[in-house]
Amino acid sequence: MSTRVIKIEQDILNDDKELAEKIRIRERENNRLMINVMASPGAGKTSLILALLERFKSSYTLSVLEGDVDSTVDSDKIETAGYRAVQIQTGGFCHLNPPMIEKGLALMERQENRELVFIENIGNLICPASHDLGETVKIVILSVPEGDDKPWKYPGIFRVADLVVLNKIDYPDYKDFKLKEFSDQLQILNPGVSLFPVSCKSEQGLEELVQKLESLVDPFFD
């Protein structure tokens, strides 16, 4: 029997990418923007989100979509701090995808004001990089104890970041972290990306980060 070669040339994630773009456009029209926070477990995603919520509360309505494989530990922390949170349990999946975001957003009634929704992605430096969720800003956090060589080891995630946060600069061994080398690696992988060294604990560096984030989101609000 004869065989034939069929050319296809289709992006395998095309349906997810189309949905992400649809979400982004629709939510911007709704005056609601999303910030996707990605990092390994323990780097400080929840701590950074809590610190930013505190600083943004007078300017925006705030919500959090909490992605985790299991549990409601993080959404409980956010709700205890007085903010709206929706927990998305992925049941083993290692990243969030646009259909999960759609379900989460559907559970959050639209507010009148300008609204920022922080998405706390699943803790890992690999697959969240490949999945556009319809966000307006992607933040990647690395923490000092993880080491300064991570951009070389996980290039994918550092390449897609709109801004990189180096957390835990209050860590006692911060002096051993080669900040210049870390920053140089980031520029090779992602030219022009901004780096913000902060400590969520001591609050050092957070004001600069807040100003940068405002400058990235405000042009999209009415």
Binding site: T3, I6, I8, E9, D11, I12, G92, H95, A129
Partner: protein, 114 residues
């Protein structure tokens, strides 16, 4: 783990195309992955074999082509293939503006049917 949802998408896209083209059997599927994609060929193949059992795609060959990344120097135009080596200065002109370029996605390229 993250290969599994990608394999599901590859299978559903391929089955649609196979039916549209009146295939009785799919012999091979070719995908291309970017230099910075997160897919591991060994796991792709394992999931693929398991999940195509009993479908038009059973026993077909999954061909995975990986694109190469490359360093590019915007000052002198030098390009050099990336194979995991760490370069911070352009080896030709010494510029510190050197960039690492490459794709991170995955594309379904073609399939061979009978």
């Amino acid at each position: 783990m993250h290969e599994l949802p990608i394999i599901e998408k590859i299978i559903s896209l391929t089955v649609v195309q196979a039916r549209l083209n009146g295939a009785e059997k799919v012999l091979s599927i070719t995908i291309e992955t970017g230099a910075f994609s997160d897919l591991e060929p060994q796991w792709l193949n394992r999931y693929f074999r398991k999940m195509t059992e009993g479908t038009l795609l059973e026993d077909s060959n999954l061909i995975i082509k990986r694109q190469e990344g490359f360093y590019h120097c915007p000052d002198c135009g030098h390009n050099q293939t990336y194979q995991g080596q760490r370069i911070t200065l352009c080896p030709l002109c010494g510029s510190d503006k050197i960039e690492l370029k490459g794709e991170s996605g995955y594309t379904l390229k073609e399939m061979e049917i009978q």
